[in-house]
């Protein structure tokens, strides 16, 4: 049944193209219904599925001569991310209610993207996973290039090329792995249990990992992220930061780490104190955390602040993965969920609630508009989202960061301190942006007679409430997700990792 999340989205996208021209409202409603249906399916499965173990959904032969199967399955990790996708899909549509230009095309691309994302999270066949993974690129490009804002064509192209380079690396790894394993199957579990040579894993692991990590915004390959986010229309930013970046992280975990666990092992030598790919990526993740936060601290454009904050937060995810202990990896998955929700919310505030009304994102220009009085709902939403995103307890971000930090303490005590630094800077940049945008004291004479700022609309309120509610719910009762994430990590798929250095 979960497979229908994919089909419904694709069908919805196809139906969009059949709508008569100019039917704006019906396009919106159709999109919303599609997203809600997908979410309902995801939620039902989530509620039914209490153990987190792997469940096969569909498994039919696809290309028999190559042993490729159409194989969909879900475990706790997939379910968590499917749920995230469902939520973001709905709220993204709510926050795109104001799209008037080429509406049905917009939602067609949007639903295509959503369907592909569902597909990635549900694929249990490497080839299939890759197919869905690449489908994501094209709608992403068009969503930004057509409906975007600042330097949209550049941002879109950069994003597409980075993604494609990343997936090219993955493809190399995929082809090599498939051949090395005897060209018989592309099933993840079969590939994961094949004993590749140590040398092969040492080469293939970084290749595939980096390939996926590009999409996850790993420093120094993150530069597509801020420009892409900034250029994208609100819903696309939400999707990008909310779920697309998670695809990368998901791939790192699901593919790179499970297939090549030995690639994480120590080298026979040390370079700059780094003794394994694991060390290298952990280091890059921490640099990403601190760097992203520092750059966010000096941005003048509101959306860039959020864009770089995503880089910083994605660093947490990668770092969590590199801890290689159950708590750290579970934390990384929690962070995927949490950051998906929160980044979506932050982008919604900045892109939709503020930019769509004020037509500027310059912090210096937003200040004098006295937005905390004009659109208090936006201010409150941003404060709550900011609090959650900087990891204040009571919100989802806290639990996630706490678990990652636990993992890091165990694996890299020294790095934990830098991560702490990153968190502090995170507090500062969120607070700085909030003060400058909403609570600036600068009052340059009487308010300029620019056009009146319309109040926050119902769909926006609804979207914001859904996202905040989710974050708080997960923050207060993380068990809800942990109950299915942690058992999922005990599945045979992660056998190799567990045997390595798993605690």
């Amino acid at each position: 049944m979960l497979a229908w999340t994919i089909y419904i989205s694709f069908l919805g996208a196809a139906a969009m193209l059949l709508l008569p021209k100019g039917s704006v409202l019906s396009a919106r409603i159709l999109a919303l219904l599609t997203a809600v249906a997908g979410f309902a399916l995801a939620l039902t499965s989530f509620l039914e599925h209490r153990t987190g173990e792997m469940q096969t959904i569909t498994r039919v032969s696809w290309i028999p001569s190559l042993g490729i199967k159409y194989y969909l399955a879900a475990d706790g990790i997939s379910l968590t991310l499917i749920l995230l996708t469902g939520i973001i899909a709905i709220t993204g549509i709510l926050f795109s209610w104001n799209i008037e230009e080429r509406t049905s095309e917009f939602f067609a691309f949007y639903l295509l993207l959503i369907g592909a994302v569902y597909g990635v999270f549900l694929s249990y066949d490497l080839f299939l996973l890759f197919v869905f993974y690449e489908i994501v690129i094209i709608p992403k490009y068009f969503l930004i290039a057509i409906w975007g804002s600042t330097r949209r064509e550049y941002g879109a192209m950069k994003l597409a090329i980075y993604s494609f380079v990343g997936s090219a690396m993955v493809l190399i790894g995929l082809v090599a792995t498939y051949v090395a394993a005897g060209s018989k199957t592309t099933s993840l579990s079969a590939l994961a249990s094949f004993p590749y040579s140590h040398h092969f894993q040492m080469v293939a692991f970084p290749l595939v990992f980096i390939g996926f990590a590009i999409l996850a915004g790993m420093w120094p390959l993150h530069t597509w992220a801020p420009t892409g986010h900034v250029a994208a229309p609100t819903a696309a930013s939400m999707l990008l930061a909310g779920v697309v970046m998670k695809l990368g992280a998901y791939g790192c975990l699901r593919v790179a780490m499970t297939l090549f666990p030995l690639g994480l092992g120590p080298w026979s030598f040390h370079v700059l104190g780094l003794g394994s790919w694991r060390d290298v990526f952990a280091m890059l993740a921490v640099i990403g955390i601190v760097y992203g936060a520092l750059v966010a601290l000096v941005q003048k454009d509101f959306k860039f602040v959020i864009g770089y904050s995503s880089v910083s937060h994605m660093g947490f995810i990668l770092l969590g993965l590199m801890t290689l202990n159950q708590i750290g990896i579970s934390g990384a998955i929690m962070q995927m969920f949490s950051h998906g929700i929160l980044a979506g919310l932050l982008f919604a505030v900045v892109g939709r609630m503020v930019y769509a009304r004020t037509h500027t994102r310059e912090l210096a220009l937003l200040g004098p508009m006295n937005l905390n009085k004009v659109i208090p709902f936006a201010a409150v939403t941003f404060i709550l989202a900011g609090m959650a995103s900087m990891g204040l307890p009571g919100f989802s971000g806290f639990v996630a960061e706490l678990m990652i930090l636990l993992g890091v303490w165990h694996a890299y005590p020294l790095l934990a301190i830098f991560v702490g630094l990153g968190i502090v800077i995170g507090v500062v940049y969120i607070w700085r942006a909030m003060q400058k945008a909403f609570f600036s004291d600068v009052h340059t004479g009487p308010p300029k007679p620019h056009e009146p700022i319309p109040p926050i609309s119902l769909p926006e309120r609804l979207g914001a409430i859904i996202l905040i509610g989710t974050s708080v719910l997960v923050g207060i009762y993380p068990q809800m997700l942990l109950n299915i994430i942690m058992p999922a990590l005990n599945s045979p798929l992660f056998e190799g990792l567990r045997k390595g250095s798993w605690q």
């Binding site: 706490l402 636990l406 020294l414 301190i417 702490g420 968190i423 993380p478």
Partner: protein, 520 residues
């Protein structure tokens, strides 16, 4: 252990939250209704606390009104609340201070519902912090308390509020992150976040070896690992108290905040730090604290002396009282550090330890009460002068406002530690207990005491005596309503000064147990 039929501590914490939501729902139309509703909620909380007190078993002094439920099993998070004497004392203090703060904020005109709902949220966070016994749970309130405090300063503060509020937030956050990291290390080693469990492990000397075992840290010796973990936690509380040299956020935050908020900050929030020292740092990290005891004592002494001298140099009343707050809490820390000077069953010093511990408890309560009252007077003053509050702006107010002078004089003397008023007994016990334990530090701390006397009398001199500043000829004295409102606070000062047993009874057994339990 008293079993109470209803989850009274949870209700106590939830009450202000409900109040906050109610205030927001009321909206901005009727400001007085909002104010009265806020006051009603804070008084309801006070009543509830008093009921708690009446049911509290002071003889045992152990944890009571316990509620314990599993929360997030993999993270060792439990919903675990209970209070002992210390907790009850803090609850009492918070529920006394918040109504005072609300009274002192009566003249707030801008966004009234928001202001008071933030105040109530802050109160909820205080209650949560003082009742939680599991780090996960406790930390939520500890951190969340920053947010209402931040916005109270940021939105209603003085000219430099942006800087002050940000400084406040960032300093505290840095401390909190250190705290968080340390506790994560502890959790990693022990798989528990429960304060009592951690304390038990520490008591048996198993805690740090477990941590050292878990933290695969290259190039660092085990002893240093322990100290580093301790430092993180220490940082969190030292910033909050604050301890010299982590105090620089405090004077600007206190002076920029609207005075009603300052009351909350100094009366209740600053106690969170000291409370943390007592509830968390001392039981869990006392071996590490012993290792670095001498520097800690120096810090406490420096805090006491420097803040007193800094107060001497200030002109702004709020800044003076801000430094004076630092000074007073310095005594608490002196006592706390003194207690762990000698461990083991040295019976000769046990009495001193009890005294010091009790002194620290009392000092917290008394300082909360006195400082809150003093800032309240500042608020009244500001209301009448349109915000002026520098020492140089006044003079001779005694002539036009004798009642005001008298009552504020009482509060000032209480702050000075005059016998017969509440301030005395706490400081007396601290000095009595600490001197035999750490004579040099205590002797140095006396310098602070003397300086305090100087600047306190200076205030009396410059504001109330001398020739009347012609500006204030028509300075109105306290109104009846103000007198009525102030009366309970002043009365409580006398009551505690004359009959300290009132509070001492609550905490004495807890203090004894703490000293006993950890075999200091």
């Amino acid at each position: 252990m008293t079993s109470f039929p209803i989850p009274v501590l949870s209700i106590l914490t939830a009450l202000p939250v409900v109040g906050a939501i109610a205030l927001l729902a009321l909206g901005n139309r009727n400001k007085n209704l909002v104010r009265w509703t806020a006051l009603a909620f804070s008084l309801a909380a006070l009543v509830l606390t008093l009921i708690l007190w009446s049911h509290f078993d002071t003889i045992s002094g152990a944890l009571q009104f316990q509620e314990r439920n599993t929360w997030v099993a993999p993270l060792g998070a439990e919903y675990h609340v209970a209070i002992d004497g210390l907790g009850l004392l803090m609850l009492l203090l918070s529920s006394i201070v918040v109504p005072i703060g609300i009274f002192a904020s009566w003249q707030i005109q801008d966004r009234v519902p928001l202001y008071f709902s933030l105040v109530l949220l802050l109160q909820a966070c205080l209650f949560g912090t003082f009742t939680a016994l599991n780090f996960f749970h406790w930390f939520i309130f500890w951190e969340l308390s920053l947010i209402p405090a931040f916005f109270l300063i940021r939105l209603w503060g003085g000219a430099n509020r942006t800087k002050a509020a940000t400084q406040f937030l960032v300093y505290t956050m840095v401390g909190s992150i250190g705290l968080l990291l340390s506790f994560l290390a502890l959790f990693l080693a022990t798989r528990t976040f429960d304060f009592a469990d951690l304390a038990t492990l520490a008591q048996h000397g198993q805690l740090m070896p477990a941590v050292i075992d878990k933290l695969a840290w290259r190039h660092v010796t085990p002893d240093h690992v322990a100290i580093i973990v301790f430092t993180g936690a220490f940082l969190g509380f030292a910033v909050k108290v604050p301890l010299f040299p982590f105090h620089t956020w405090l004077p600007s935050a206190y002076s920029e905040a609207p005075t009603g908020t300052t009351i909350l900050l100094t009366g209740a929030m600053s106690k969170m730090g000291v409370y943390g020292f007592l509830r968390i740092l001392l039981p869990i990290f006392w071996p590490q604290m012993q290792v670095v005891l001498t520097p800690l004592l120096w810090l406490a002494v420096a805090t006491i002396i420097f803040s007193a001298y800094a107060a001497l140099a200030q002109r702004d009343l709020k800044r003076i009282f801000a430094y004076s707050s630092i000074n007073h809490l310095g005594y608490c820390l002196l006592a706390i550090f003194a207690v762990i000077k000698f461990t083991g069953g040295d019976a000769a010093l046990t009495g001193e330890k009890y005294a010091a511990m009790n002194g620290a408890f009392l000092q917290m309560f008394n300082h909360g009460l006195t400082a809150a009252t003093l800032f309240w007077f500042v608020a009244i003053l500001e209301k009448r002068t349109g915000g002026l509050r520098s020492l140089d702006d006044f003079g001779g107010l005694r002539k036009v406002a004798p009642v005001f002078t008298g009552l504020m004089g009482i509060a000032l003397f209480s702050s000075l530690g005059l016998p017969g008023l509440n301030g005395f007994i706490g400081e007396f016990l601290i000095f009595k207990g600490s001197f035999p334990l750490v004579p040099w530090a205590t002797s140095l701390a006396v310098l602070g005491l003397l300086t305090t006397a100087v600047f306190t009398l200076g205030i009396l001199q410059r504001v109330f005596y001398g020739p009347l500043n012609s500006q204030w000829i028509s300075f109105p004295d306290l109104t009846t309503r103000e007198r009525l409102a102030l009366a309970p606070a002043i009365g409580l000062m006398f009551a505690l000064g004359l009959y300290p047993q009132l509070v001492l009874a609550v905490v004495n057994n807890t203090a004894i147990q703490m000293v006993e339990h950890f075999k200091f």
